[in-house]
C-alpha cells in the first residue's frame, strides 16, 4: 500500500500525537459516523466514541485515524495557501 504521509503500520504514534488526535475526535459531534470501505480488516462504520477508544488502543482503525488527522495537519498550510 502506498504511504505518502501515513505511518508505517508497525509504528505506534507517540502519546502526544495520540492525545492530539483524541482531542480532535472528542470535538466532533456524536451524530457523525466514519465509514471505511476497506474490503479487509478495518472496513466498517465507526462511532466517534469507538474511534477514540481505537486511537487510544492504537489498533489498525486507530492508526488510520491518526494518519488522517496528521495528514490533514501537515497539508493544511500548504493547501490553504494554494486555494
Amino acid at each position: 500500500m502506498t504511504n505518502k504521509t501515513n505511518m508505517n503500520n508497525e509504528q505506534t504514534a507517540s502519546k502526544d500525537i495520540i492525545n492530539l488526535v483524541v482531542a480532535r475526535l472528542e470535538s466532533m459531534p456524536r451524530n457523525i459516523e466514519i465509514s471505511i470501505g476497506d474490503l479487509d480488516g478495518i472496513g466498517g462504520s465507526y462511532s466517534i466514541d469507538d474511534l477514540i477508544t481505537r486511537v487510544r488502543n492504537q489498533d489498525e482503525v486507530g492508526k488510520k485515524m491518526v494518519d488522517v488527522q496528521l495528514s490533514y495537519l501537515r497539508n493544511l498550510n500548504r493547501f490553504s495557501q494554494a486555494v
Binding site: 501515513n6 466514519i34 493544511l76 494554494a82
Partner: protein, 208 residues
C-alpha cells in the same frame, strides 16, 4: 456511449454509494447514454465479467469495497474484479473504481492490460456520515461534500471527458468544497480531514 455501473448495497458504505449513484444514472440517461446498472445482488463476478466481455462498454464505474488487488460486488465475499481475474477485459475503457486502495495494484494492472484510463484511490476511501440521515443519504450534509467530489468524476466521464479531465474537475470541486467548508460552521469543518484525505489519495492513470 455505454456506461456500466455497479451499485451493491449491503452496509452503510455501499448504501451511500448506491444512493449517490442514482442522480448520476438519471443524468446519464437524460444525456442519451446507455446505462447498464448491476444493482444490489446483481453485482456478481459472473454478470460483471460476462457483460464487460460481450458488450462494447465505454465507461465502467465500480462502487464497492476494495483492497490493493480486488474489488467486491454484492457482498465482501463476491470479488468481481481482481489482479489476474478480469483486469484484461477492460481494454480501451475508462474505469473509475470508487473503492478503497483500488489505485495501488489493481489500477496499474488494469492500465497494463490496455484500459484507456483509470481513477481510483491509493488509500482507504473514508466517508463521514450523519447517523440521523442514514435513511436519506442524499440529504446527508456531512457525507455530501466528499461524495459530490467523487461524483464529479462520473459526471465528467458521462459527458465524454477523458480521465485526466475528470480528475481535474474532481480536484477543482475538492478545492471549492475545502474553501466552502473552511469558512463554514463548526459541524462541517470536522469533515475537512476526510475531504483532504480522499483528495490526496485519489489517483488518475491516463493512457500515454
Amino acid at each position: 456511449m455505454l456506461l456500466l455501473i455497479t451499485t451493491p448495497c449491503y452496509d452503510k458504505g455501499t448504501h451511500y454509494l448506491r444512493a449517490w449513484s442514482q442522480p448520476l444514472i438519471a443524468d446519464a440517461e437524460k444525456r442519451g447514454v446507455d446505462v447498464k446498472n448491476l444493482d444490489k445482488d446483481e453485482t456478481t463476478k459472473e454478470k460483471f465479467q460476462s457483460y464487460v466481455g460481450k458488450r462494447p462498454v465505454d465507461v465502467i464505474v465500480i462502487n464497492g469495497h476494495g483492497n490493493d488487488i480486488a474489488v467486491a460486488g454484492k457482498d465482501n465475499e463476491e470479488i468481481i474484479l481482481s489482479v489476474g481475474d478480469g483486469d484484461n477485459l477492460l481494454k480501451d475503457k475508462d474505469v473509475f473504481i470508487r473503492a478503497c486502495s483500488s489505485g495501488v495494484v489493481l489500477g496499474p494492472s488494469i492500465m497494463k492490460n490496455g484500459a484507456k484510463g483509470f481513477i481510483g484511490y491509493e488509500q482507504d476511501f473514508i466517508v463521514p456520515l450523519d447517523k440521523d440521515s442514514i435513511g436519506r443519504p442524499l440529504e446527508d450534509k456531512i457525507a455530501a461534500p466528499i461524495l459530490e467530489c467523487s461524483n464529479q468524476i462520473i459526471t465528467s466521464l458521462i459527458k465524454g471527458h477523458s480521465v485526466s479531465e475528470a480528475q481535474a474537475a474532481s480536484m477543482k470541486k475538492y478545492e471549492e468544497k475545502f474553501d466552502e467548508l473552511s469558512s463554514s460552521n463548526v459541524a462541517t469543518t470536522h469533515i475537512l480531514p476526510f475531504l483532504l484525505w480522499n483528495m490526496e489519495f485519489q489517483v488518475c492513470y491516463p493512457s500515454i
